[in-house]
Amino acid sequence: MRLKDVLSPFLAWKNLFREPVPIKDPVNRQAAPRYRGFHVNDMDVCIGCGTCESICQNAAIDMVPVEGIETTREDSGLRPRIDYGRCCWCALCVDICTTGSLTMSNEYQWIDTDPEVFRFIPGADGKPWDKRELGYRKPDNYELYNTERTPMPELAPEDRDKSFIEIVRGYSKEQAIREADRCVECGICIATCPAHMGIPQYIAAVRKNDMEEALRVLYETNPLPEVCGRVCTHKCETVCSMQYKGDPLSIRWLKRYIADQVPLEKYKEILAADGFEQKDKKVAVIGAGPGGLSAAYYLANLGYRVNVYEALPEPGGMTRYGIPEYRLPYDPLDKDIEYIRSLGVKMHFNTRVGKDITLEKLHADHDAVFAATGLHLGRSTRVDGTDHPRVFQAIDLLRKVTEGKEIEVAEKIVVIGGGNVAMDIARTLARLQNRKYGKVGITLTSLETEDIMPADREEIVESREEAIRIEPGWGPQSIEIVNDKIRGLKVLRCLSVFDENGRFSPRFDKDETNFFEADMVVEAIGQGMDITYIGEAFGKELALTEQRKIKVDAFCQSSLPWLFVGGDITGGTDAITAIADGHRAAKGIDKYLNRET
């Protein structure tokens, strides 16, 4: 023990002569810019995907409805409510937020005597720190999931422009699992899909490489997975929460992957299709398109005896006779249909209802009828010259190509229309031109400008790759004919397609004209329906909507209780809507036939 040891501790007393230093002002303290304080949620950006709720290990987040937030196609209408009694401020919710709406403020403290106020909905329940610019934000340098879509292997333009071989080659197992891994299972896609398919469930099954479970999920809502896996309009992908930071999930290609993996022979076993109770009731389905096939499948599963009447020689409707083979080859289509037929569905081809058999007879022989006859009549622009024999309807040409018939292919062709049918015929004709002339001479023109063209974006890109000239934003004025020969199409600049109320009412600029040379014109501006088979007697009793379409209820039941109608003729626009209609009609028919009398 030294004297120094006794004395030196007293050096602490030197602090008596220092200024007292308050290190921090606890009330007005500014926290660091990255401080993880109370949450801030941008209500307009948030889509209510609930990924924050999924990752929260404390279960501090609940997705709850909020007044003033409507449920829409891309918004669940729910918003995270955070219980700060459970929150551990780890900010994983901020890191995984798919839209980036959720952040944290750098508010350092908040005192209240009421514990209830510490559970609130950031953004909806206004807080003083909502406008703070500082606070924790997810750094841009990383993501907790893969934002990039797994590219789909496709045929190169030079390998596909002469043939009708399917362009899309399909995912391998590794690619499919990698793509499926990106899903955050928010389920916003389910509400948007017309058939409300269990998308997150089948994607989860892909992830687990459980194809049987995946197929079961598909068939719960969609008996044409091969078809939809190829040509679905994939509205689901337009709302996918992955799109906000990267590419939406390839939901359609994953569906295709599932259907491609399972051989047809195993379907019955996987879907447990044998042994459902047979009922002694018969249902007639008019039209073997997606709507009719879907209704037939679900009715057969409910035990009804189903007769399908189809005017054309083969089943599939527009999916066979409208969509070209390079998008939807016949083999996968046949696979889907073959399975439906294997359930005992009887199909009568080349039987046009109204001509070969009357609706009255169907009604007499069956307990209920479902009509999904589609839109098979091409519409004309009715401009001068459309009565020329070398002016064709796209839908007629596509049907003939499917039937294996020769169609007329000129060296220079103008296609009028900006939808997928226009793309289909343009690309079909381009292939035929390539075979015949060794070059492509197709101009595709549409009223709509490119940003609002109804065709799928990839169709536009691929068409260009196949040397098709696309001229959007022109309205056809007349077809110039010299000496009975078509010279080309005169067009006017189209200023707008729809009026303020969203109704079709194109306006043109008469001063800006253009001329597209051609010796053949194809119109692909939409199709109309032919429902003359309903006949006068039933037609009188049938209620129509303002748009002159058959009025149906939520189960596709018309004002004639035994007659159910669905698909394109009631306003559907694509295969998946028709499939959904078929499913609903099957439920409606079941309800109708089991009604208490």
């Binding site: 023990m1 050096l11 810019p33 990255r34 401020w89 340098n141 990383y142 907790l144 999931y145 990106r182």
Partner: protein
Amino acid sequence: MADASKYRDFFPPKNPDGTNIIDLESHKFVKIWQGPQHPGITGNMSLELIIQGDEVMECKTHVGYLHRGFEKLMERRKFIQCFPLVCRIAVPEPDFNEYCFAATVEELAGIQIPEAAVWMRTLILEMSRLTSFLMHLGGQSGAFGLGVVAQWTNYVRDLMLDRFEEISGGRIYRMHMPPGGVRGLTPDGFDARMEETLRTIEDVMKDVDTTLFNNAVFKRRSVGLGYIDPAWVDLYGITGPNARAAGVPKDVRKDYPYLKYPELDFDVITATDSDIYTRTDLRRREILLSIDLIRQILVKMPKTGEYMAKMPNVLHWQIPKGETYIRSECTRGEYGFYTVTDGSGYPRRVNVRGPSYTHAVALMERMAIDCNIADTAGLMLSLHTYPPEIER
């Protein structure tokens, strides 16, 4: 090698014929409880003491007051969800948990983290060590009645927490090292502010030197007390400063180099006397070493670049079957995570190897004997243990 079995089998210890060695019926002894609000520990823990006069005859430790079952909780959480959980296993220095857990997951998943993230992790671990030692030093002096040092060291510890807040947005639970990398590099101007903080700490350490280490009271109470025999190091599994103060140069940073420690210039600090004073002094030198290491890291580390590996979707993250043990040198010794995965999205088993378990239970029971009852708090503190890590 000392015989430890005698102290473990029964409490109170028994003779071979089954009678108690210490006859509580004789009225010569008193059995008392110290804790669970024990001044000798950061957290809750009890000592069951048999005393004669003010001398401890026998000691039994009781833990479990902070049991939250972290290891079990982790088996029910996805890998990414374990990340905010593990930091709670050792509150004053959560980052070692984060690092060990992240490193096990990365090893099992085959993820290579970017260079900048490795540097950043090294920096955070060293800052965490410094912060934890500052807190401990205050506690150690406080346990012997010298409260003023605790105020000084807690003040500078708070400055360190400010630096953590700048980096990560969190003060106590930094949560900056998720599996895959780190959540950000140092912000602008950080180096200057860090340097200022380090200088302040150095100044305070000079004051601590005069008031604590040259203090008659502290010396009288700590010199010669709490001797750890170097032979016990292997017997009890002693690591860290407790082992180094006994002259055993155990330091994971040197023995099993990890992160960027091989690129840093430092020597293992050892001492010989192995009493409370020596251990406290060794920790003081560790503080100075950490300050030096932080300076070295700040000079060498990249200030930009990638800091997070490309991650799969963490919500469905499945890690291949495997097992691994990752260790690091925390303030108290070897800190390790043993993780077993079964190919699912959840860890099958996680075992946390914290130095507190060996130091606070078996070693403490051995060392408390013959100690004055007033010194138990100082003794416990000199072993530097954190209960949540005992009963994780």
